[in-house]
């Protein structure tokens, strides 16, 4: 064993590629502290916050956002973005409703078909982005409109709402002995899967490499385009799962389901410390950000803060989320510059 090296063993536990582990750790810590603070202050000052019912509602609202934020985090780490996710939810809801309306009565069949549809919609994004080399921002703004339009083609202004009560009740049923919806366990399991992929597999290593430097990743034998393609497929499938949950939670499939949800997802991912430029961030911060935004929104609603003000709060947080980690990073880098680390090469090739 190489024990006599200059190298100190790095700390165990993996919260992101080392080196920035401390940086991200600190942003994660700030988010979790902010979450605790908001919970404490809101519980103390706003009536109704802190009740079991409150948390049940927060969790139900957060589930679809978190489901989509999981793959979105990976997508944004590679330097891409998918803005079509809410429309994918809407189209999945519409097709699911229409299939039920047309007589497909098997729940497993409906779920599998929905997930397949989501995967196909994600693959369409992926093909435009990786095969035709178009920017994901442009492509997914296009499919944001396209998929929503298709949802209206499928359902028009109808709402399909006559599902068996067992399905809709089961979707939101609590874990026995608690008020927390059982579906949160599905979310937790998926969060573990995505977390393992991001932190503990060669694929996760590739994602950070791609987001920081796609060219060097190619030279290291990483199939940059193939990786991105499958991320978009995964995003579509996860959005479809969110669509299935949405349909049964509200017992309603409508073409306008989840309109605007993509902004809530992207806001959570960015607030969670993922760099919009790719290469930085992780799931811990993102899940904390989903919780923080959910608690804050619901608490302010209970405090009778008007909807406009809620939007302003979300917007401010989003800007803070972009500025905050950068400020932290700049401060850290200034500290690090105290050490003489500038190299001749760094300057010549600028």
């Amino acid at each position: 064993m190489a024990t006599d090296t200059l190298v100190k063993p790095a700390r165990t536990g993996s919260a992101g590629p080392p080196g920035w582990r401390r940086l991200l750790g600190s942003w994660d810590a700030i988010l979790i502290l902010a979450l605790l603070l908001v919970v404490l202050v809101a519980t103390a000052t706003i009536e109704g916050v802190g009740s079991p019912r409150f948390y049940r509602f927060v969790v139900l609202e957060a589930i679809p956002i978190a489901l989509i934020a999981l793959p979105m985090t990976l997508v944004i780490i590679t330097g891409e973005i998918d803005l079509s996710v809410a429309s994918t939810v809407g189209l999945t809801c519409s097709v699911l409703g229409q299939l039920w309306y047309l007589g497909v009565t098997s729940l497993p069949v409906l779920i599998v078909l929905s997930l397949l549809l989501g995967a196909v919609l994600g693959a369409v994004n992926g093909v435009f982005i990786t095969v035709f080399g178009l920017p994901s921002l442009a492509v997914t703004i296009g499919t944001l409109a396209l998929y929503r339009g298709l949802a209206y083609v499928v359902l028009g202004d109808r709402a399909i709402a006559d599902y068996p009560p067992a399905w809709t009740q089961n979707a939101v049923a609590p874990i026995p002995g608690t008020v927390i919806p059982w579906f949160v366990l599905v979310l937790a399991a998926l969060a573990v899967v995505f977390g393992v992929v991001l932190y503990l597999t060669p694929i996760g290593r590739s994602l950070y490499a791609i987001g920081n430097n796609a060219e060097a990743s190619t030279f290291a034998g990483i199939s940059v385009l193939r990786t991105k393609f499958w991320l978009f497929v995964a995003t579509g499938a996860m959005a479809a799962l969110a669509g299935v949950f949405w349909t049964f939670r509200f017992a309603s499939a409508r073409a306008d389901n989840a309109t605007g949800l993509e902004l809530a997802v992207v806001a959570a991912v960015l607030l969670g410390g993922v760099s919009i430029f790719g290469g930085r961030g992780g799931l811990v911060g993102v899940l904390a950000a989903v919780a923080l935004l959910g608690v804050l929104r619901n608490a302010l609603q209970l405090a009778d803060v008007p909807a406009n003000a809620l939007t302003i709060v979300t917007g401010t947080l989003l800007i803070l989320s972009v500025v905050g980690p950068n400020l932290v990073r700049m401060a850290r880098e200034r500290l690090r510059r105290r050490r003489p680390v500038t190299t001749p090469l760094e300057r010549t090739s600028s």
Binding site: A10, T343, P344
Partner: protein, 499 residues
């Protein structure tokens, strides 16, 4: 007569690397002056100082006897110095006339741009140059030659006294070169000073009156063209001792490992065939732009190729797939280590283990320990100087970064190692460590293909020297016949040796 532009004992360093040491140049009005030297002799740095991109650390730049200091390219242009680059950077979606007058468009009332005046003046400029380009057409789609002429028209439009042409002919056809030279001669005869940088001696001798030779960032000689021969210039360019820095151990070449057969990528290289045996170090020499790196990239699968094939140990390699190349035990240490070799923001550990991320995983999982162990071992073997292997590679010096790239690829236990500019921008001590390492790898039976622009390195390390000139392999010189002149002659297209 006072020189229109003079550089006296100009020094310029980038960190520890001295790019120019005591560089000198005198340009007179009405002369075309050639600046020649090997790759890395400091020509580009000198051009950038003239262009106002860099400012010198020491020494004097003077215009007509007056010392000047350019703070920016705009200063240099205002002083009447125009630089025409090998690949001009025009705004592709603006018209030719707009490109010429960018930033100083003729105005009419209310500060509106006077488009017709701009068009007229563009036509006048082109008439003076004797060329026909539509001033209203967008720059996109112009040939490189026409783009250069647009740049020259721009230079004329602000009455440039000094026109610097940095390898302008590299991408031009014969006819286009003739046209460019006709334009250059008329500029010269109208009193402009032309600084012409080229590796093509026939062009230098047909256009220029005087030649300045640089080597290792220093001024070596300036002389009238009439006193010189091509051989004399080449010898002055390369003349230096090959020190004992290069510890190449003679090895008995083994089986053919890498076979490249008729490889063609149109526009980059044509019909390139060669083999590399185990235990052999083969250098791929040539001038910048000859297509050497492009061949290495194509072999490794970064770029696709139009014809030909690559075999490793007799097995055909799938084109366009670096992961297939890695699976076939091929490794490529690329030329640009900051852009291609490393992910600067990631740690030493992550970089050093990136190509082996699957090999190091167990059941597809990486807990970090195997990466840490592997990185620590290779960092120790290559003596990477770093505080912690979890620090980003951007905190390392150039030489240590190169060692991380080497660790990254040597840890894959390659049977064929392609290494592009192995010692560019690293200090002398690390250089010889890298050379010793390459020699040791060859002794262990690895087939090494080394792309290098440094002749001493090529001659000191290589068992065989392949020379490329303008996309073609023009010479295959065994070690005992390779010397500066034979390689340089082939590289400049002076001799077509048996490939």
């Amino acid at each position: 007569m006072l020189p229109v532009l003079a550089l006296k004992s100009v020094d310029k360093s980038f960190g520890a690397v001295a790019a120019l040491r005591d560089a000198r140049l005198e340009l007179y009005a009405g002369e075309a002056h050639a600046l020649v030297g090997e790759n890395g002799a400091g020509k580009s740095t000198l051009v950038k100082i003239l262009a106002g991109v860099h400012s010198p650390d020491a020494g004097i730049v003077s215009l007509e006897g007056q010392p000047v200091a350019f703070g920016s390219p705009a200063d240099a242009r205002a002083a009447g110095i125009a630089v025409i680059y090998q690949e001009p950077t025009l705004f592709p979606d603006l018209s030719v006339a707009e490109n010429i007058f960018m930033g100083r468009q003729p105005l009419k009332g209310l500060r509106r741009i006077d488009a017709s005046a701009m068009r007229e003046r563009t036509n006048e400029l082109f008439a003076r140059l004797g060329v026909r380009i539509d001033p209203d057409r967008p720059a996109r789609g112009l040939s490189i030659a026409d783009q250069q002429l647009v740049e020259i028209a721009k230079a004329l439009s602000f009455d440039a006294r000094v026109v610097v042409m940095d390898e302008p002919t590299a991408a031009l056809s014969g006819v286009e070169v003739e046209r460019l030279f006709a334009v250059a001669r008329s500029l010269r005869d109208n009193g402009a000073a032309i600084l012409f940088i080229s590796h093509r001696f026939d062009e230098v001798f047909s256009l220029c009156q005087r030649i300045t030779v640089m080597r290792d960032g220093r001024w070596i000689a300036t002389d009238e063209i009439g006193n010189l021969t091509v051989e004399g210039v080449v010898r002055t360019m390369v003349g230096r001792d090959i020190s004992a820095l290069f510890p190449k151990v003679p090895t008995e070449p083994g089986e053919v490992r890498l076979e490249v057969d008729g490889l063609t990528r149109h526009g980059y290289f044509e019909d390139v065939s060669f083999t590399v045996r185990g235990g052999e170090i083969v250098a791929l020499a040539g001038l910048v732009g000859a297509g050497r790196s492009e061949v290495a990239r194509a072999v490794f699968g970064i770029d696709r190729y139009d014809a030909g094939e690559v075999r490793v140990d007799g097995r055909r390699l799938r084109p366009g797939d670096p992961s297939a190349a890695i699976a076939a035990d091929l490794a490529l240490v690329p030329e640009d280590r900051r852009q291609q070799g490393l992910v600067m923001e990631l740690s030493i550990e992550r970089n050093a283990t990136l190509p082996r991320r699957w090999a190091l995983s167990r059941l597809g999982l990486l807990f970090g320990a195997s990466e840490r162990r592997s990185a620590a071992e290779w960092a120790r073997r290559l003596q990477v100087k770093a505080a912690r292997n979890s620090d980003p590679v951007s905190t390392l010096s150039g030489g240590n970064q190169q060692k991380v790239v080497l660790a990254k690829w040597l840890s894959t236990a390659p049977r064929v190692l392609m290494i592009d500019e192995p010692t560019r921008g690293i200090d002398v001590g690390t250089k010889s460590e890298v050379h010793r390492l390459l020699s040791q790898l060859a002794a262990e039976g690895v087939a090494v293909l080394m792309v290098s622009s440094e002749l001493p390195e090529v001659l000191g390390m290589a068992d065989r020297v392949l020379v490329m000139h303008e996309g073609r392999l023009v010479a295959d010189i065994p070690r005992d016949q390779a010397d500066e002149e034979s390689v340089m002659f082939a590289a400049t297209g002076q001799r077509e040796a048996a490939a």
